[in-house]
Symmetry: C2
Subunit: 354 residues, 2 copies
């Protein structure tokens, strides 16, 4: 969004507009103006207590001046909770909040910032006037992770950028290099690959055994804070779709960006969610990826049952719409705001803004 007026004048204008509207941003251009919050709060939802006994104690020293103390691992642990940060606007324009659910091996930071330091989709949708809830799923980020092998039975995967390079469709499987001069990227790639080190700092360990905990915590979140829109990414596909199946009265729209899965046929009915508009957003280079061709097929098998039941299941195939070069990390690509605007316009069409 471009403005011909200097920022200071713009800020003044917005300040006056804000005064008339209870101090909320009323800019028609998300990306400008202030974000007027009633509150911002992080908290944990879900989880359970697990007790361990019979483990050996050990001696630890927690700072150079501390006495050695006995660390006793026996006792209670809180496990399986998720973390969510709630941003409540004074005057939301969205009829319901947006929940932002990240993908595998990542956290809510996915939505906060791009590796090259631009503003993320979280700010975009707040500025557009939506209350937001940005979560870290179970075991990721501020949600904390349960010790292994006593609670989690296996060790997690720590993903490298080497491996992500291909899976996230930045370039060919041998294309990773920290040095931008040595990287191989797909032609026309929009991901800010030169900032791959900064993106790597966002990676967190993931377990492949925690889906049930994650689903349970997300379902609790939905019961607690919805009605809502959910925007999910990648691994969140199965969790968002299952959450909508479990609480079809609570979800007003589902936007899945590059979902890595649909739902297994036994676990859903398109008719249950046919009143919930669904949007699926796909980036570029999918036809050249066996993995993503498979994933997209699984997702389409799910969403097609929603259309078949008479519901709305739209697809933004970005390259087919002339928006080219998007990786799996659409919200971090150089054209991330352009895609965010397409999604927002779709939400407006669904009647979700006042």
């Amino acid at each position: 969004m471009k403005h011909d007026r200097p920022i200071s004048t713009l800020a003044l204008t917005l300040g006056i507009v804000s005064a008339l509207s209870g101090c909320a941003s009323t800019s028609s251009s998300p990306g400008d103006g202030s974000i007027v919050l009633k509150s911002v709060r992080g908290f944990h939802v879900g989880g359970e207590r697990v007790s361990l006994q019979g483990l050996p104690t050990k001696e630890i020293r927690t700072n150079p001046q501390a006495p050695i103390r006995i660390s006793n691992p026996n006792g209670d642990y809180q496990v399986g909770q998720l973390y969510v940060q709630q941003f409540s606007l004074v005057s939301p324009k969205g009829k319901v909040p947006i929940l932002l659910w990240h993908g595998g091996g990542l956290t809510g930071v996915t939505w906060e910032v791009t590796p090259d330091g631009r503003s993320g989709w979280h700010e975009f949708f707040m500025r557009a006037g939506y209350d937001t809830y940005v979560s870290d799923a179970v075991e990721r980020g501020r949600a904390s992770w349960a010790r292994y092998p006593e609670i989690n039975k296996i060790e997690p995967e720590h993903r490298t950028p080497n491996q992500a390079w291909d899976i996230f469709r930045f370039g060919p499987s041998d294309g990773y290099a920290s040095d931008p001069a040595k990287q191989k990227v797909h032609p026309g790639q929009q991901f800010p690959a030169a900032s791959i080190d900064q993106f790597g700092k966002q990676f967190v360990a993931r377990w492949t055994t925690s889906d049930a905990w994650i689903q349970k915590a997300y379902n609790e979140l939905v019961q607690r804070v919805c009605p809502c829109i959910i925007i999910g990414h990648s691994q969140a596909g199965q969790f968002v779709y299952a959450a909508a199946q479990a609480a079809p009265d609570k979800i007003k729209a589902v936007v899945m960006v590059e979902p890595a899965s649909g739902l297994e046929p036994a676990k859903f009915s398109g008719a249950t969610v046919k009143h919930i508009p669904h949007l699926t957003v796909w980036g570029d280079y999918i036809t050249g990826s066996k993995l993503w061709t498979t994933y997209r097929g699984n997702v389409q098998r799910y969403t097609s049952t929603i259309s078949a039941a008479g519901g709305t299941a739209d697809t933004f195939d970005l390259p087919a719409m002339g928006v080219r070069g998007n990786s799996h990390m659409v919200m971090m690509d150089k054209n991330s705001d352009e895609v965010a605007r397409l999604i927002r316009n779709w939400l407006v069409k669904q009647g979700l803004e006042n």
Copy 2:
């Protein structure tokens, strides 16, 4: 803070005041009014690239519909970074931002919310008019943790509430129980002990071997975003004090809440930081705790060198001031806002607000 007027009238009044001041909260009572942000952004600071080779691959399946894929742990990892969330007000009242550094086994959530769901100090200081930076130190929360034993050489400590009960001075060492009816707490205790399960969800794994990484990342943060005030808790003592020694021109005040350590004598000079006002805040029940008597002694040996050099090193011994019952988690205790106000008044006295 009590108000006789109903909230809706109050909000309206504040809305008008906000309009006159560029839409920033000018309430004299932090805890009321809106928070008018220019931006909110999370990002990573510090860290380094570590490469691993020679590890075995394994087969994993990341969702029920996914093909089995080879997970190859060989390659590059980003380790030793911290995460920080920046909240920038449109019209800050504080002359410099406040950096909030949490304690051991915890994350920035320390400042966000109390276990019984009240607003945390982060909101308090934003409402008071300060830009804020809330961090997760290396290996905690959204900062991510480096795999072990290949990068971290040892396993972390996962703390139980059983053990925290005594260390955090909620009650005697055998006093923990999840069931509030069975808990033993210190007489007059202000910690919301009935919400111990919710507090336990905030716990994260900690390593005792990562101090150098943490210090390096914090020092980089200071270079990047200060001049600033730092408010730290517990384990952050050593990191805050060392950061001030390393960048005495960047730190305008140090507020340590229950610091678990000072600095080792070889690592500091009181004269270096004598121009930086220091405040140390201590809760109740310390004289009955051998651990905390030791910790307080270490801290006083450090801060007394600042006074001896002619600087300001104030102490709020809360029970001596008539503020009784505070645990180690002062920012979560039932009187948390009362203590926040004392700290804010001290900052005002240091000339740190416009």
